[in-house]
């Protein structure tokens, strides 16, 4: 070719390349911009402030407190300036105040206003991700009060902030209900409503002036004593109800060669309690509407103020991290909000019921009345989980590590039955193709070949059913193993920064899992139900689905936690004819659960918690059978046994046929001891010990739980049985008996 022609050719190539590059960049920009036309999911939005018409509302005539409502038992006194409510128990004359603050407390303006107001809000200012607070004094709202028969409706209007909302208080026989309807919320452009506090200081006390405690829904229940802490504590208890929201909350980074900080327990019940034991008056708060996105706050005295207070804060918006580069992001305030009705129910308890035992009973009655819980079969069983298989790295691919085949499981069950362990609730885990970790996100539901066949499993289930044993299969419909391909637009949860949400595992093989969207989980669940139609495998143990609640971004929409909850409801309804066990389910799942697995026996080691109490067991006993976590890994086996006795929990073990050292290179490497031969005798012992107790208490409810001395606990059952547990290392005298250190004694009704 001639030089000239080469030159021309070269020039043409260069020009074409530049043009193509420019076009590509333009295309990317266009795509990126159009993709971000985000539409909110189905949440209601606040109304525009300019539409607010206050002409029909009446301002209050008087500035003095007056009786807003009254019934046979209680009186509600309203202070129109602060919107503070005083609840009076007519029979005893005891009062519960909701606004506080004295000169001695030396509060700054912000806290003075907050402590002195019945209702407060938090909001975002413009693009700033920091929250600001407005109460009945700061930001000077206009308050319009409409008196009603059983209470009042207050419309609070912040002119400058352009935010308005209604608060409706209704006195009931057992207490009070406070709600904020979603359609009463108005907003402007600049200031956006983030959260609302409804009577956060109801029942609050100052330093150690009142004796009593605050009840936290921490683990199974924990108490913070109302004593003068002398400034020892710096940070409050602040936790989202129903666990952190994976879409918004930042996760702890993971590391392999160091111990990990364990995540604290999740809040299972949206409740809180405040008891004034000397005055024999107590309060139980239950979040009702809008409870899927709220935060529990408890401040022992010394943290920010001299007051002990506990409340639930309802969230409409939260700041989140938005990615700006591969490795970093900045906090931002969202435009969209989660507007729905929110409400809290306060139950006032007096006399002998003004303690956590009374609160447990009140809560249970509430659950029964509202259909959140039903009486299930609470017969005693020992829970035995069998791990089928796992996977590990081998040269370039993954290989299966079989731990318990179907026939081995059968052998173990039969042998245990011969030893007298007749009431077993077995769950087969990791039975799917690929083993446990690889099964996440797999909707084929094939039985792993090395373990056996579907027919074998079905036959075994039928045989066991004939002997009164319900074989459960473990299935997690929420997690997804990253080694598979997914349609990330519709099947995988993205957080509000539009990144794929990850669940860290702190293991090398699969360092994290994804979450499946409810849409995909539902369709997987339907496939599962279809697969096992016509078989006897109608027992299922749910993994994360029952204890994970999240909002998420998918396919251009944002979905709230409430919508995720509805999807979970739909899934459970599909499993109507299955026996369902759930791992530590939240309260809204209880009506579907037949078995409650992994009831928390401990709180999370918070410094300010005075002691742990079995509040949740007191609620569930007699209604649903609940099982402790695996006994295999407990370092203090005797104390653990005593805990199970105190809480009335049934025992659990995880067992494998093969040695647990086989699991070292898998994602289940934290199962470091599970060999059947090692645990055979312990299984039999625990079964017998706890069965004895269960037989004596005979499925009745726990009526009272008391701490009668240092490390000595007494539990009373409805049928009169009393159990005394001595955790100390000294003998304890009770009813002319000397109870040995670290042991228990059951007193039956004569």
């Amino acid at each position: 070719m001639s030089r000239k022609r080469i030159g021309v050719r070269a020039r043409n190539i260069v020009v074409s390349a530049v043009v193509i590059a420019l076009v590509a960049v333009l295309a990317v920009l266009v795509y990126v911009t159009t993709r971000n036309a985000v539409t909110t999911g189905k949440s209601v939005s606040a109304k525009d402030f300019s539409l607010l018409d206050t002409s029909l509302l009446s301002r209050n005539i008087s500035d003095k407190p007056y009786i807003a409502a009254e019934n046979d038992r209680l009186q509600m006194i309203l202070d129109p300036v602060s919107l503070g409510i005083t609840l009076v128990d007519k029979a005893s004359g005891e009062r519960l105040e909701s606004v506080h603050g004295t000169e001695e407390d030396k509060l700054n303006a912000s806290w003075k206003g907050f402590l002195g107001s019945g209702v407060s809000i938090e909001f975002f200012n413009g693009d700033s991700p920091s929250l600001e607070r407005a109460d009945m004094f700061n930001h000077k709202p206009e308050v319009y009060i409409e008196n009603r028969d059983d209470g009042f409706k207050a419309t609070i209007v912040y002119e400058k902030l352009k935010i308005a909302l209604d608060v409706i208080a209704e006195l009931t026989e057992d207490g009070m209900k406070v709600t904020v309807p979603a359609d009463s919320i108005y907003e402007g452009e600049q200031y956006r409503l983030a959260s609302v506090y409804l009577y956060p200081f109801m029942g609050a006390t100052r330093l150690g002036e009142e004796k009593g405690y605050m009840l936290l829904p921490e683990g199974s229940g924990a108490l913070i004593d109302l004593e003068d802490n002398k400034g020892r504590f710096r940070a409050p208890y602040s936790k989202k109800v129903y666990g952190d929201n994976i879409a918004v909350d930042r996760e702890i980074s993971q590391q392999y060669n160091r111990p990990n900080v364990k995540a604290p327990e999740q809040i299972i019940m949206p409740i809180f309690g405040m008891a004034h034991t000397d005055r024999k008056i107590a309060l139980l708060g239950i979040a009702e509407e809008g409870k899927y996105n709220c935060q529990l706050l408890a401040y022992p005295n010394g943290v920010s103020t001299n007051y002990n207070w506990i409340t639930i804060k309802y969230l409409y918006r939260e700041d989140y991290i938005t990615q700006v580069s591969r490795s970093s992001g900045i906090r931002a305030a969202p435009k969209e909000g989660d507007f729905r009705d929110v409400g809290v129910k306060f139950t006032v308890l007096t006399g002998e019921k003004a303690n956590y035992s009374g609160m447990a009973e009140a809560y249970r009655n509430y659950l029964v009345e509202n259909g959140i819980i039903e009486k299930k079969n609470t017969d005693y069983n020992i829970r035995l989980d069998f791990l089928g298989a796992e996977s590990k790295e081998w040269i370039v691919m993954k290989t299966i590590v079989p731990m318990t085949t179907i026939s081995q499981m059968e052998t173990m069950l039969k042998e245990l039955m011969e030893y007298g362990v007749k009431d077993i609730l077995p769950t087969y885990m990791g039975w799917q193709k690929g083993g446990l970790s690889l099964s996440y996100g797999d909707n084929g539901y094939k039985v792993e070949e090395k373990l056996g066949s579907l027919r074998q499993l079905d036959t075994l289930a039928k045989e066991l059913k004939d002997q009164g044993i319900n074989l459960m299969l473990y299935q997690d419909f929420l997690l997804a193993n990253t080694s598979r391909n997914y349609d990330t637009q519709s099947d995988i949860v993205k957080n509000l920064s539009k990144n794929l949400a990850k669940k860290l595992t702190n293991k090398r093989l699969y360092p994290y899992y994804y979450y499946l969207t409810p849409k995909r989980s539902l369709s997987d669940a339907r496939k599962y139900i279809k697969k096992f139609e016509g078989t006897d495998l109608k027992g299922i143990t749910f993994g994360s689905v029952a204890n994970t609640l999240f909002s998420y971004f998918s396919g251009g929409n944002i979905y709230s936690r409430q919508e995720t909850k509805k999807a979970a409801d739909t899934m459970m309804e599909g499993f109507g004819e299955f026996s369902k066990a759930m791992i530590q389910p939240f309260d809204y799942m209880w009506k579907y659960a037949d078995y409650y697995f992994d009831i928390p026996l401990y709180a999370s080691n918070y410094n300010y918690v005075s002691r742990e109490i079995p509040f949740l067991p007191m609620v569930l006993k007699g209604y649903m059978p609940y099982y402790a976590d695996y006994a295999n890994f407990e370092p203090n086996k005797n104390s653990f046994l005593l805990k199970m006795v105190e809480y009335g929990a049934y025992p659990s073990f995880i067992l494998t046929w093969e040695e647990s050292s086989e699991l070292k290179d898998t994602n289940s490497s934290d199962i470091f001891t599970s060999n059947y031969d090692d645990f055979k005798s312990m299984v039999v012992e625990y079964y017998n010990l706890l069965k004895e107790i269960s037989d004596k208490t005979d499925g009745t409810a726990i009526t009272r739980h008391d701490i009668i001395a240092d490390d000595v606990v007494k539990v009373q059952y409805e049928n009169g049985v009393e159990i005394l547990i001595n955790y100390s290392n000294r003998e304890f005298e009770y009813k002319q008996d000397m109870i040995a250190p670290q042991s228990y004694k059951v007193y039956e009704v004569n």
């Binding site: 990317v28 920009l29 990126v32 911009t33 971000n36 985000v38 002398k230 020892r232 504590f233 710096r234 940070a235 160091r258 111990p259 990990n260 900080v261 364990k262 604290p264 938005t322 990615q323 700006v324 580069s325 591969r326 790295e393 081998w394 040269i395 370039v396 026996l601 401990y602 999370s604 080691n605 918070y606 300010y608 890994f633 407990e634 370092p635 203090n636 086996k637 005797n638 104390s639 005593l642 805990k643 040695e659 647990s660 070292k664 290179d665 490497s669 934290d670 470091f672 001891t673 031969d677 090692d678 055979k680 005798s681 312990m682 039999v684 012992e685 490390d711 955790y727 290392n729 670290q742």
Partner: protein
């Protein structure tokens, strides 16, 4: 492989727990921990474990006294707790429950950062600001002060800024002085300087050596002094042995010194933030880092428990903002001081840890047989605690159950123990079977002789021999057989490869593949004693990359260099000759592999010898190869090899740089995309 576990009944176990508990006298609370606990397997990998220690209580105040930025605590033999309240310039003396006994040193001390209490109850406080060590009587009276020792031995330019100290039974002080890199200053009771003790070593890196060799005197003076890190903290046990912890010393961060000042411990886990050490009742060693990680080692330096962690801002007990000091009381409770949050966290031993200690104690004192049952109980509770297998192995060895001790040592990774057990097992095997083996060999010899005889008489094997002969003449086979000629006359062999077409690319490739297979066999299927890779651990991709990568790189670079420097060899020649040069490996390594399964450490020298022979002969062959193929003189050959190695290094470095650059570009593009995304939405 038989597992050696007794089936102990739960009741007996419970009784055992009970006995142990009553001996130690602790309240076993049913508490939990906000951290996970790890231990080591025999490969030194960290694996899960039950918790050994759980958080019990915190001490935030002693009576009405709070402490401020306290830097040290000390628990004496009477279980009295001393807190160096650094921020308030005093020492608080308290009971273990936090009840006030007395306050010492107010007005005298400014910022005490280290304390020690001797057998008589005298309190030694190191005050770096005052540059003195103050000694108080148990009543709080100041009885003595130590300042910088007189004389030039200590070092004129070394200041005396005491931070931490211990005192031995004779009353000599061991003082860590800030900034003094010579080690720990040892002072007599009278304050005379006795010498330095326990200095750390500076690791010398290649670039340092090169610098030293090549820089001028002026340049060297400009360099920063390469000094060893000074110890951060120290402690002394009942026998008078001194332990130090040093930050930035990697696996030598924890040291235990014998009387001669020599470190008795092997490598321990590296932790950049190591900050204090304490000794427990069975000479177990506790170490804490500022991040709040607590390590417990046996007295030999084997990791038992690793737990704890950083406070997550949620006020949970058992996590730390900035841990500064640790000590142990007589019942085995741990006390860890958190400087930033001004509290002392108390940990309690769990039942599991008590069993481990019981087993360990018996084992350390030599009661191997008695330690077997507790070790088996430990394994029952945590089957990943490989250390227990060593104890069980020793017990079986003493009981002469060599097969069982062999299996146990293997599981526990105790190669020395395995070697001894294997020796015994082999001995027994040989004694029992010597006759049979001998007869078997004689039989083989007879069979061979008979067949030969028959063959020469009746020609039975002739067709077979013919087939073998014709097989040997197949071109590839003939080329492969050329391998035998190489060691006989290397120079001529290479000439044959180069000019006479004695081999082909196919045969060379076959040889490379055989080499790789033998390499894999050696790496993964050697005997337990000589294997360097963990059992069941495979990294095939790395092996392929490294073996073929290195070979390929060598061939290419050598070809490049040789072409530049007028070598005669072609790429093909180098490729084929190298394949034939590695024949010593192909023939001798399999022997080593087989031997590795039947030899013990006593005979390890045989395998080492074989390896030396292999590598030396390969080196020689390669030198001859290059000389012949490229037609160089000997001198040019060495130059060629040096340049080849240098070129290989350059290749690797450029590859690393390019990968890093590409990564940066990708990162950059992604950042822009994300930024656009954020701005536009």
């Amino acid at each position: 492989m038989n597992k050696i576990r007794a089936k102990s009944r739960f009741i007996t176990a419970l009784l055992a727990f009970g006995i142990v508990l009553s001996c130690i006298g602790m309240a076993a609370h049913a508490a939990s921990a906000p951290y996970t606990t790890l231990t080591e397997d025999y490969r030194g990998r960290l694996v899960s474990s039950q918790d050994g220690y759980l958080p019990l209580n915190t001490i935030t105040k002693v009576g009405d006294y709070e402490f401020n930025k306290a830097l040290d605590i000390f628990i004496d033999d009477d279980d009295i707790l001393y807190i160096a309240d650094t921020g308030n310039g005093r020492i608080i003396v308290s009971t273990l429950e936090g009840e006030l006994i007395s306050v010492i040193g107010e007005g005298i001390l400014t910022a005490p950062s280290g304390i020690f209490v001797d057998r008589e109850g005298n309190i030694y406080a190191a005050d770096p600001r005052k540059e003195k060590v103050f000694v108080f009587s148990p009543d709080g009276e100041l009885i003595r002060e130590y300042t910088k020792p007189e004389g030039s031995l200590y070092g004129k330019n070394n200041r005396f800024v005491p931070q931490k100290l211990v005192v031995d039974a004779a009353g000599s002080l061991y003082v860590i002085s800030e900034g003094n890199t010579n080690g720990i200053a040892q002072l007599s009771k009278q304050g005379e300087f006795l010498g330095y003790f326990g200095a750390n070593y500076t690791p010398l890196f290649i670039h340092e050596i090169i610098r030293r060799l090549t820089f001028t005197k002026e340049q060297r003076e400009q360099l920063k002094l390469n000094v060893p890190p000074s110890p951060k903290n120290l402690t002394i046990d009942d026998r008078g042995l001194v332990y130090t912890v040093t930050q930035g010393a990697g696996t030598k961060g924890l040291k235990k010194f014998n009387m001669a000042g020599i470190n008795m411990l092997d490598d321990t886990l590296p932790d950049e933030n190591i900050t204090d050490v304490a000794i427990g009742q069975i000479e177990n060693i506790f170490v804490v880092s500022t991040e709040g990680y607590i390590y417990e080692y046996s007295r030999e330096g084997d990791l038992l428990f690793l737990f704890g962690g950083r406070d997550d801002g949620k006020n949970r007990s058992g996590l730390f903002v900035s841990a500064a000091a640790i000590d142990v009381d007589k019942s085995g409770h741990l006390y860890v001081l958190d400087t930033e949050s001004n509290k002392i966290q108390i940990f309690e031993k769990t039942e599991y840890a008590s069993i481990v200690h019981e087993a360990l104690n018996l084992y350390q004192e030599g009661y191997y047989i008695e330690s077997k049952d507790p070790w088996e109980e430990v394994l029952r509770q945590n089957s990943l605690f490989d250390y227990a297998y060593r104890g069980i192995g020793q017990a079986h060895y003493k009981l002469e159950n060599y097969e069982q001790s062999l299996a146990a040592f293997r599981l526990g990774g105790d190669k020395a123990g395995y070697s001894s057990s294997f020796w015994e097992v082999r001995n027994i095997f040989l004694k029992n079977n010597m006759l049979k083996i001998f007869l078997f060999l004689v039989l083989i010899w007879l069979v061979v002789k008979t067949v030969r005889l028959l063959n020469s008489m009746f020609g039975l094997l002739v067709p077979v021999q013919k087939a073998i002969a014709s097989f040997r003449e197949v071109s590839v086979v003939r080329e492969l057989r050329f391998v035998y000629y190489v060691p006989k006359n290397p120079a001529d062999a290479y000439y044959g490869i180069k000019r006479e077409g004695k081999v082909s690319i196919l045969s060379s490739t076959i040889l490379y593949i055989i080499f790789f297979v033998i390499y894999l066999a050696d790496k993964y299927f050697s005997g337990f004693l000589f294997k360097k890779v963990a059992e069941g651990h495979y990294e095939l991709a790395t092996d392929i990359a490294s073996v073929f990568g290195v070979i390929g790189l060598f061939i290419i670079c050598n070809n490049l260099i040789s072409s530049i420097r007028d070598g005669e060899g072609k790429l093909r020649d180098i490729y084929c000759s190298l394949a034939y040069s590695i024949m010593p490996y192909i023939f001798l390594k399999p022997v080593a592999i087989v031997l590795s399964h039947v030899l013990t450490y006593n005979e390890a020298f045989i395998i080492n010898l074989i390896n030396i022979v292999i590598y030396a002969s390969i080196a020689v062959l390669i030198i001859v190869m290059i000389k012949e193929i490229q037609n160089y003189s000997l001198r040019e050959t060495f130059k060629n090899i040096a340049l080849t190695l240098f070129t290989m290094l350059i290749f690797v470095i450029s590859a690393v740089v390019i990968v890093a650059l590409v990564n940066q570009v990708v990162d950059f593009i992604l950042s822009i995309a994300k930024e656009v995304n954020y701005r536009v939405s």
